[in-house]
């Protein structure tokens, strides 16, 4: 009986999530930080689909579907915010956008 153990999928998901966290913390370009968030959401989606396979239920697929919808809404609003920040500051560097400091 061959087949991939389910834990491989979960470890792949963990690896992608940790890479997303690293990108979120280490990068300075606000668009790349936003893409790291999308990477983390994708990693969590893979976990949901794996659990759905393990439990033989379709609920995990529904959660993934809702995560996709929320990600679409989030990216629309987030990119609009990025456009506004760029219009005001003329930069995409998050270290330059610190007017809320102090």
């Amino acid at each position: 009986m061959t087949g991939v153990p389910l834990s491989w999928y979960l470890i792949l998901s963990a690896l992608l999530f940790v890479l997303g966290v690293a990108g979120f913390l280490f990068r300075r370009n606000i668009i790349t930080i936003f893409m790291s968030i999308e990477l983390m959401l994708n990693a969590v989606n893979l976990s949901f689909i794996s659990f759905s396979y393990q439990l033989k239920q379709v609920d995990g697929h529904l959660f993934t579907f809702f995560v996709m919808v929320v990600a679409a809404a989030e990216s629309a609003v987030g990119l609009a915010i990025i456009l506004t920040v760029f219009k005001n500051r003329n930069t995409l560097d998050v270290d330059e956008v610190n007017s809320m400091k102090n």
Binding site: S7, Y9, L19, R28, I31, L39, L46, I49, Y53, F65
Partner: protein, 166 residues
Amino acid sequence: MDVILFLVFASIAVVCAVNVVVQTHPISSALSLIGVMGALAILYLLLGAEFIAMAQVIVYAGAIMVLFIFVIMLLNAGAEQRRGRSLAVQLVGVPGFFGLLALLAYAILRLFPNATNVHFGGFTKGTAQDIGRALFTKYLLAFEVTSLLILIAIVGAIVLARKELD
């Protein structure tokens, strides 16, 4: 066959994800992220989630990433300039990365010692019919709330984007 397909597409996903993090130009990151999403769609198919795989390709790789690339091109974003990393980042960041990964892997292996083996075709309830039936009965309230969320997001994006600033 399952193992080969998993290993090929998992390695594509990991290589593209590393590329997302290390590339300095946002366009390279975005294209690598599309690679991650395509590889993940194949893995969803292997797990029996055919509807979600199609939605992944259409919504994520098709719509969201096109929006990203559109904004990158619109802003004419160049490469991020490199600055010297502080010593604390190097001392804490890299061990922290591997530490978090090891913690997650340990938790996964401890929590699921008797996880099932994944076969292609071992789970066939991920069709559009099953998703639709669950979506419009059990998750109907969540579905309606989602439509409200989308409406708010549309209004918010329009208000933010067309505000004239001086």
